[in-house]
Amino acid sequence: MNLDVSLRKNYGGFQLDVAFSLTENRCGIFGPSGSGKSTLMHLLAGLLEPDEGRIELAGQILFDSARRINVPPEKRRIGVVFQHAHLFPHMNVRRNLLYGWKRTPEAERRIDPQALARVLQIDQLLERGVNSLSGGERQRVALARTVLACPRLILMDEPLNGLDEELKFQIIPYLNKVFSEFAVPLLFISHSLHEMRLMADEVLVFEGGHMQQRLPAEELARRSLVTGSRGYANLLTLRGPRPHGDLWLYHWEGNELILTDSGAAGDNVFELAAKDITLFKRHPEASSARNMLPCRVAGIFGAGNRIGVELACGSGRLICQIVPDSVRELDIRQGAEVIAVVKASAFHRLY
């Protein structure tokens, strides 16, 4: 993706003023509601006209106020997945899916509808009316509909917002599969840090109509250890669960972890809060916690009474949150050997 943007828009007393250029294929726009994320999306898609500025995508100028260029949305080839799917209510799933595809010149149709429908597991729904679909199904159909128009860029405006907590993360593997398999550049708009980390590599942070900073998603998450109310959460991909007594044993980056929750046969993403990891200087022979991982301290960050310790365990990385006193008492510095202790019940399965 090669996207160059410099835009100004006054919109009902709200001023948006941004300039950035993106090259990463998976970018996120992160910010609280009212920060101008959705306005930006509308401006990029051509659904709203900027007062001033310029948009260039893959070498083509889509908008330039100085040169009076304003390519209409239907010719921008920028796909949008809306917050509430907005499937056409008078068409069945198949007609919804093919709406954009039919309007794409044959030479541009890179994606096979059948293959996509299979990846998203909506191939059984094709003849259904869209009103009978569940929230997750609707969002998957909406995604497929947009992807099939073979856009040069897909904007996703809080696509998981309308879904309940459990469903939300079930969609993410589908999204990831589609975006990696069909290689469509993505701009993912959300106010959820988790979603950012799961969907985007680079994140633009918006606030009050301006871009505040721009950083890798992981970096943004680490900052939340200090500033966020919920702290940092490790997102771990655990593989191949096997029963272990009445618990479950998983593989994780050369380690074995014991969890209370069962998972699916393949990859499972679990959340582990940084504050749920306890550090010991020496192996505590016996503990009620089931996981004791020997680690090496790879870095220390944070400020005030929240210190983040980056741990290297096998080939995996963990972030643990402790207080400055503990850092002193355990003599934690780069290269130090510690034991990370985690309860089997501290892991929370996302998908």
């Binding site: 898609a45 949305p73 509430h84 907005h86 709406y99 794409t104």
Partner: protein
């Protein structure tokens, strides 16, 4: 009780013709005007809206008289029509025009309400999927405002069946040519002993109107099943 003379039958047949023709002719225009009023951003829209709605508030007789000034032999379009060999006044065409003009605002209002109810984001979705405005119009707006269009057509058809004031001025009351049901009833009530005949036609009028409403309701229900979210 229901004994209809051949002249009554003619009046019923003429009424049906006039109402059907007026409604069908108005539909494309009504749809276009409603689309314009809802989706096109232009200054002076209020003025157009006013003109379209005027026949709704004007006495039909006034509308008829204005149409007479437009289409009459000495009217604005009179000479032009005459040179083309078209005669409008006191013909079935006049009855259709009178009904169309008087019923038009009802049609537009109904379609307009339907179009305003369409979530704008469906239109945005269709455009980002590559549909141009006319494509969106045909594939999204038209089907989603279908129910409103139908309701508008019903209203207009019913209004045309009852059109009296503008029709009697522009088309006259010529049995077999322009005499529709309301005009025939009017004539019966002015004839001594015509009350029974008038009542028969009133009954016919009620039955037709009722049938139209029922038909609208059943078709509309099908639409709703198809388009509810």
């Amino acid at each position: 009780m229901l004994n209809l003379s051949p002249q009554d039958m003619q009046a019923i047949w003429l009424s049906a013709q006039v109402a059907t023709a007026a409604t069908l002719i108005s539909v494309p225009f009504g749809f276009a005007v409603a689309y314009f009023l809802v989706f096109v951003r232009l200054p002076g829209k209020a003025l157009i809206e006013g003109v379209v709605n005027l026949p709704l508030v004007l006495p039909p007789v006034v509308v008829g008289y204005l149409l007479l000034l437009l289409f009459g032999q000495s009217g604005v379009l009179g000479p032009l029509l005459q040179s083309l060999g078209i005669r409008i006044i006191f013909t079935l065409k006049a009855a259709v025009i009178a009904s169309a003009v008087v019923g038009f605002p009802l049609l537009v209002r109904s379609i307009r309400t339907g179009m305003e109810d369409i979530d704008e984001r469906y239109l945005q979705a269709s455009r980002t999927l590559g549909a141009r405005w006319w494509d969106t119009l045909l594939t999204i707006i038209l089907p989603l405002s279908g129910r409103a269009l139908l309701a508008g057509m019903t209203l207009m058809f019913a209004r045309s069946l009852g059109e009296f004031g503008a029709t009697i001025i522009l088309a006259g009351n010529i049995p077999g040519v322009t005499q529709t049901i309301p005009l025939a009833i009017y004539e019966y009530t002015n004839t001594p002993g015509g009350d029974r005949m008038a009542l028969s036609l009133c009954l016919v009028s009620i039955v037709i109107s009722f049938a139209v409403l029922l038909a609208n309701e059943s078709v509309s229900r099908k639409f709703r099943q198809r388009t509810t979210r």
